[in-house]
Amino acid sequence: MDDVKLKKASEHGIQPPLALLAELSHRCPLQCPYCSNPVQLEKKTGELTTEEWKSVIDQAVEIGMHQIHLSGGEPTVRHDLEDIVGHCTKKGLYTNLITSGVLLNPDRLKKLEELGLEHVQLSFQDTESENADRIGGFKGGHEKKLEVAKWVRDVDLPLTCNCVVHRQNIDNLENFIQMALDLDAERVEIAQVQYYGWALKNRAAFIPTPDQLDHATEIVEKARVDLKGKLVIDYVIPDYYAKHPKNCMGGWGRRFLNMNPKGDVLPCHAAETIPHLKFDNVREKSLKWIWENSEAFNIYRGTDWMPDPCKTCDRKEIDWGGCRCQAMALTGDAKNTDPACSLSPLHQEIFSMAADEAKRPPPEFIYRRYGVRFNSPT
C-alpha cells in the first residue's frame, strides 16, 4: 500500500463524520451467535478509561458530530456509564444507549434519564422466552428484557426494540411487531443478520429461505401502512437475496466512525475482519487527524480503488460497491464487488450456497465467547 498515495478525506470532499458508534466494552453476559463484534474480543484491561472516553467525546463535538451510540458488547457493564452519558449530553451529543438490558435496574435507568440520555435501544432475540434465551445463550434473559422495557418507559425514555431476525425466529415477525407495540416502543428495528464475524461462522444456522424473506417483507410493508404514525418500522433488507448491495455505512469512511473498546478507530464495526487494515488509535492520534488521514479509512474511500464491475458501474457512487467486510469474508479480497450484488461474478455461487444452506437443517450455534478457537481463519 506504500506505493500508492491515498487521497485524504478532504481531497474526496468528505465532510466530518456524523455519528460515533462507541463500543465501550466487548464484555457481555449474552452470547448471541450473530454478534457483530470481532471474533477476537477485547478484554477489560485494554478498555479506554473514563477520561479517555471523555476526551474522545470532546473531540467528536469539536469536529461537528451529532450523535453518539453507546454500544458494546454490553455498555452497561461499565460502572462509569453514567459519567460517560452525562458528559455526552452536557456537550450536546444526541445520546443513544444500545443494550441487551439484562444488567439494568430501575434506579440506574432513572439516573441515566436524569443525566439526559435521549433514547434506549433494547435488543430482543425472539418473542418467547425459550427460543430467545437459547439464541442469546442467557437463561432468563427474555423475561428480564420485557421488564427492562417497562422500566425504560416508566422513566419516560423512548424505546426502540432491536430485533435481529433469521430463519430461527423470522416466522415470529408479526409477534415482534406486536411486542414492540405492547411495550410502547416508538420504533422497531428489524434487521437481518449480516454475515461477518460471529455471524459468518453461524451462517448456515441463520440464513433464511427466499420464501421466508418474501413473506417477511410483505409483513413489514403491510405493518408500515397499518401502523403509520404509531410505530416506526426500520427494516434492514436482507443482503444475499437482494439485487444490489446495501449502501453500507453510507460509503466507507464517508459518514460514520466506530471505536472499539481499546480506542481503535474503524470505518465500520466489522472492519477488523479485514486483516491488512492498520487502524489508528485515539491514544495516539486525534479523532480529527484520524478521520482525515487514517489509512484504514482512505484505502476504500471514493471509487479509485474499485475493480470491475464496480469501476464502470453507474451505481458506484450510490452503493459504493457494497460492504467491504462482506467482500472480504466471502471472496477473500475486500476490494472485490460485494457478492451481494447480482453483478458480482461470485453472486450466483454464493446465492446458491446460501439458498442451499437454508434448505438444510440448521447446525448447532457457535456461541460468542472469549477464547473460542476456530479451525479455519475467516
Binding site: P16, G64, Q67, Y94, H119
Partner: protein
C-alpha cells in the same frame, strides 16, 4: 404513541421526547436528531421549527411568520401545515396534550 395526527391550525405541535432540533456549531446547520435519523433542515423549516415550543398553535406560528416575512397568512398557513404534517408522519412532531 398516539394515533395518526392530522395537523390543523388549532393543534399545538411539539417535538417528541426523543426528537431533538439542534444547531450544530462546527457545521453551522440546524438538524433534527432522532435514533438513526438525522435530517438537515432547510431555512424555511428552521423558521417554522424555531417557533415550535409546545405552546403555540399552528395558527399562531403561521401568524408570526406571516408578520415576520410580510406574506399572506393563508399561504404561510398551508406551508406550515404541509411541513408539520410531513414531519409528523415521520414521527418528528406530535401534538401537545
Amino acid at each position: 404513541m398516539t394515533d395518526i395526527l392530522k395537523i390543523n391550525e388549532s393543534i399545538v405541535p411539539k417535538f417528541p421526547k426523543h426528537v431533538r432540533f439542534r444547531f450544530n456549531k462546527p457545521r453551522k446547520e440546524w438538524v433534527i436528531l432522532a435514533p438513526e435519523r438525522l435530517v438537515k433542515m432547510d431555512p424555511i423549516a428552521v423558521e417554522i421549527l424555531q417557533l415550535v415550543d409546545g405552546e403555540k398553535t399552528v395558527k399562531i406560528i403561521a401568524n408570526e411568520l406571516s408578520k415576520k416575512f410580510n406574506a399572506p397568512l393563508e399561504t404561510i398557513l398551508d406551508d406550515v401545515i404541509e411541513m408539520l404534517q410531513d414531519l409528523s408522519d415521520k414521527g418528528f412532531i406530535e401534538e401537545n396534550g
